[in-house]
Point group: C2
Chain length 259, copies 2
């Protein structure tokens, strides 16, 4: 059981917050966008100088065994790689790898409910790497509640970057679908959207001022898929309902992942 | 034994790098600057919204028991407080607290050997809080070695801030002892030095250009006490040996902590 799995406190994740992870879904026992997630997992590990002593195909076999054993057709699988049991609590050691599977099924009602964001000035370090660093995100949960929001949207001097666990998009007056080009994690859902045919998508910086004139806004992630943003900093986006372009992308996305 | 202590992987330190800690020495079974470390520990916990369900005096009793039981007269005691066993891996739970004691005795030869730094542009998030976030510091260990250095010195657009585990000082041409005033952790050793009588100390921003003209430089921490900086980015500081003012402060510091 996931709830029983333990790690020594000498691990560098506990001592120094040092680790990376990735997370993908299974739908009807089928992993969704597995190759993309594995690409990112190995990239993150390499960026943090964490050697992975298991080959890609062997890793996929482990996922398959987990799927067969756990009998959770709709699930989320998280693979975590930490700095390992460090003798002095600082020097990296042989990494520890663990994989957990939890029941997860997407609730389509979420889309209609949408989400409310509150902006906050912060730039995640090593933002292109999926590290376990969510120090600000966890800390800001109080701030989010105080601001009647559901999640936080980070920005810095060069514009908006991302939510802690989701990428951000707006649809502007010219029906262009814009997402920040840098300072954020390259999400798999974001990547899939950018590759859809027939969409007028663009990677471009988004300034805070552009939020007030956006026709639509939405966030994307593996678990949220596409979530319409109905309010930012208390201001209503568009008519306060999920937008038509957002809905179109959502439908296309559901289709592409096998829902 | 410290080496056997375990934590569930659902802890937010493992899942999201969320936790704080503090670290103090004992010399001959006597804790050094304990009140200062406890002040900072409770401050860090409050800043991260981590409730500490143990009173200060009770905590001191636990340290005392540990000291009596472990029989390590010269030691380092680390107290860690993490985000706890989160049900969804994101929402903070009841914090986990653990305390470990390890043998540690200061080696006075370190002072003569000094240390070499390499500069790197980075600003630690929540730098005034002693969080477990050492993501950059651990990652940069390769970079440090490649640059024939022993540690990294962070700087940002507004100047130099700190080393990952030490505060930074220079002695300038006017024999002023200067340490950065912001963007860094307020170290206990730093605080003690600033309170010494008869020293011409100043909290002031230090720019990269000032390093080349510094007569002396040193770093301070609980375990390093005072360590002369002999090189920065390959450039020799002063005459490349521990400076006289640095040595004076070192002596005074050794005296004040009961060495």
């Amino acid at each position: 059981m996931k709830e029983d799995a333990k790690i020594l406190i000498t691990d560098l994740s506990v001592q120094r917050g040092y680790g990376i992870f990735d997370y993908f879904k299974t739908i009807n026992d089928q992993p969704v966008f597995l190759e993309d997630h594995l690409d990112r997992f190995y990239f993150s590990a390499a960026e943090m100088f964490l050697p992975v002593d298991i080959e890609r195909e062997a890793l996929k076999n482990i996922f398959q065994q987990l799927i067969e054993k756990n009998n959770l057709p709709d699930s989320g699988i998280r693979i975590t790689l930490t700095g390992g049991y460090s003798e002095d609590g600082y020097a990296p050691a042989k990494p520890n790898l663990f994989i957990t599977q939890s029941a997860f099924s997407y609730n389509k009602d979420n889309f209609e409910k949408g989400t409310r964001l509150v902006t906050y000035q912060h730039q995640r370090q090593l933002s292109q790497v999926k590290t376990i660093d969510y120090l600000q995100a966890i800390r800001l949960q109080t701030f989010i509640k105080e601001n009647n929001a559901d999640d936080v949207l980070y920005y810095n001097a060069s514009g908006i970057s991302e939510c802690p666990r989701a990428n951000f998009f707006i649809v502007n007056e010219r029906n262009e679908i814009i997402t920040p080009e840098k300072n954020m994690l390259a999400g798999i859902t974001r990547k899939k959207i950018m590759a859809f045919a027939g969409l007028n998508t663009k990677e471009e910086s988004i300034q805070l001022e552009q939020l007030t004139t956006a026709k639509e806004a939405f966030i994307t992630s593996t678990s949220k898929i596409i979530l319409p943003v109905l309010k930012i900093d208390g201001q209503t986006i568009g008519n306060g309902k999920p937008g038509e372009i957002t809905r179109e992308i959502f439908k296309q996305m559901l289709g592409s992942q096998g829902n």
